[in-house]
Symmetry: C2
Subunit: 222 residues, 2 copies
């Protein structure tokens, strides 16, 4: 087993080099970019749909969707009004910088303000692969349960923003918010957090305002 | 990248050899065993808790819990009345046969009728690693959404039983059951399926009766 370790290290550092290239390319075109990560079914695609729908008049949006199979998510993003590209990993449990590099060539980046990359649904592996995006956003969801920070610490440690989705389900499932937040604050103190529901729209305004402010601040400091 | 492929093949076949050893060990002791796989938060631990609680007088149960960190799940299984062992993968996104081999040495197998192995919460990677258990059980959940078979085909293809959990949430989330079942039936025709709620108990009887029948049939044919 030890023989595999150097190979893993080589792949990771090649990945990091390409992630830097991706970042340069995004910065050259002035595209602010987010890497959305979550378990399967936490609501990444729904949050993208709602975000695209509500910001379509304000920002020029593009979405790159990573999935093992199908183009269902890219179709939903496109129907909502974004440019979209689907990556099929063909079995891989995460996106890597090489996949993003290929997908970026499919987009007219000069006509994009905000790019959202939707990673493969997985609370483990995507955290280990930098893509070159400006921020990572973790989407948690109420029915997943409050113990997830404790059980998937690598993911909770490595992100810059947390969205807690499906708060409309709080009356119907047991979820100890104080316990959840304690776990988050141990792993990632002061993490920028939004609680919302893509179904009812509750909490969406704060998320959208923050997102627009991030893009504006990025464009002003270029 | 191509240089890594032979290494991956070598690890997989070493894993399969150890999985065969694990199976032999379980069969020598007469232990029927299940590998529970699911996304994070689909309800693997809740199903184990309810199963242990209700079958404690009928079968001698043991649980091996795989998590990246913490012993929360093993504590829940033990509190419900099972012998339990926690495996911490320390970052790995799946259990493998070597981890199970080590965990089996911690259990008095001759005093166990049914062993449930709870894999790391992940709809991708665990499907690629045989452990040596007799059956794999996938736990899906209603709030995950109905598109999961289409997006995680490897997992849906590789299991012998499907439990659809959290049916008590059907009134509160959009879930197209016909679309879900069509996806399942394409990937895994005739898959043995239970729909239930660990919270309300609805559907638990059919699952428990099936489980007891499986253990009895296994013990009779040894």
């Amino acid at each position: 087993m030890t023989k595999t370790i150097p190979v893993v290290e080589k792949i990771l550092s090649a990945n990091d080099r390409i992630a830097l290239d991706n970042r340069q390319r995004l910065d050259d075109a002035g595209v602010f970019s987010l890497n959305f990560m979550a378990s399967p079914g936490a609501g990444k695609t729904s949050l993208i749909e709602q975000t695209v729908r509500r910001l379509a008049g304000t920002l020029r949006l593009a979405v790159i969707d990573g999935d093992i199979a199908t183009s269902l998510d890219a179709e939903r993003a496109e129907a909502a009004g974004a440019l979209s590209v689907q990556i099929n990993t063909g079995g891989d449990c995460h996106l890597d910088a090489i996949m993003l590099q290929a997908a970026l060539t499919q987009l007219p980046l000069d006509d994009v303000d905000l790019l959202i990359v939707e990673n493969v649904g997985n609370l483990v592996c995507p955290a280990s692969f930098q893509l070159g995006t400006h921020q990572s956003v973790l989407i948690a969801s109420i029915p997943e349960g409050a113990d997830k920070p404790y059980k998937y610490p690598g993911m909770y440690r490595g992100v810059q923003t947390l969205v807690v989705n499906k708060i409309d389900l709080l009356p119907f499932v047991p979820f100890d918010m104080a316990y959840f937040q304690r776990g988050v604050s141990i792993l990632n103190p002061g993490l920028n957090t939004f609680t919302l529901s893509c179904t009812t729209g509750e909490g969406m305004e704060a998320w959208l305002s923050w997102l627009v402010a991030q893009v504006e601040s990025y464009q002003h400091t270029r």
